[in-house]
Amino acid sequence: MIAAVIPVAMALFATAALLNLYRLTIGPDIVDRILALDTLMINSIALIVLSDIWMGLGMLFELALLIALMGFISTVAMSKYLLRGDVIE
């Protein structure tokens, strides 16, 4: 059952990533683009975890954790730069 369900979930995540790319392209303001990049990072974490289940490896979690960390830090850095004019005050 899982082998039939994983491609459906992967299709849903890929469509969500395409919608994020659409918002990243047309985003009328820079904050919209930051939000779209953050959501794209989260979708890529989900795709990595799904492909880990699909291949049965069980060893891609460090990669997912690293991408989560980088997504959060880049979002906070860009927001702080736009908010205060400086990243670390």
């Binding site: 899982i2 459906v8 995540f13 939000l35 959501t39 069980g58 979002t75 906070v76 908010l83």
Partner: protein, 130 residues
């Protein structure tokens, strides 16, 4: 690698539910009209969806390898902690940049009064203009 049928059904349900939640979150971020509305989709629906996916992954590898894995709980905890923080920072940035909003969005926090822009001098509340 033998997995119980009930556990397999639970894992499949969690995978489909997570995919639908993440898709709804991205759909909301694409189709809503306002940045303050668009912020709702990824911060709530996408976080719940990624929680479902990581829970399904943890159950799968628990059933397949016989011992529970702690790393998925670590990723889930990290994402659930950091999603409100980044949403708060993005909302503050949007308010600071004074992004346009539609009329039905409530709250007008950054409208400045005339004297704050500098049209006429502001008297001190105790000393007047002295």
């Amino acid at each position: 690698m033998t997995i119980n049928v009930i556990l397999e059904g639970v894992i499949s349900f969690l995978l489909i539910a997570g995919g639908i939640f993440v898709f709804i979150g991205s759909l909301g971020m694409t189709h809503l009209r306002d940045f303050y509305m668009r912020l709702h989709g990824p911060t709530k629906a996408t976080t719940l969806g990624i929680g479902c996916i990581l829970l399904a992954s943890m159950l799968y590898f628990w059933g397949a390898q016989g011992k529970p894995d702690i790393q998925e709980i670590l990723i889930t905890l990290f994402l659930f902690i950091t999603a409100p923080v980044s949403a708060h920072l993005l909302a503050k940035t949007g308010l600071h940049l004074q992004l346009p909003h539609v009329d039905k969005t409530q709250g007008r926090p950054f409208e400045l009064r005339d004297e704050e822009i500098g049209d006429k001098p502001v008297p001190h509340p105790d000393r007047g203009h002295g």
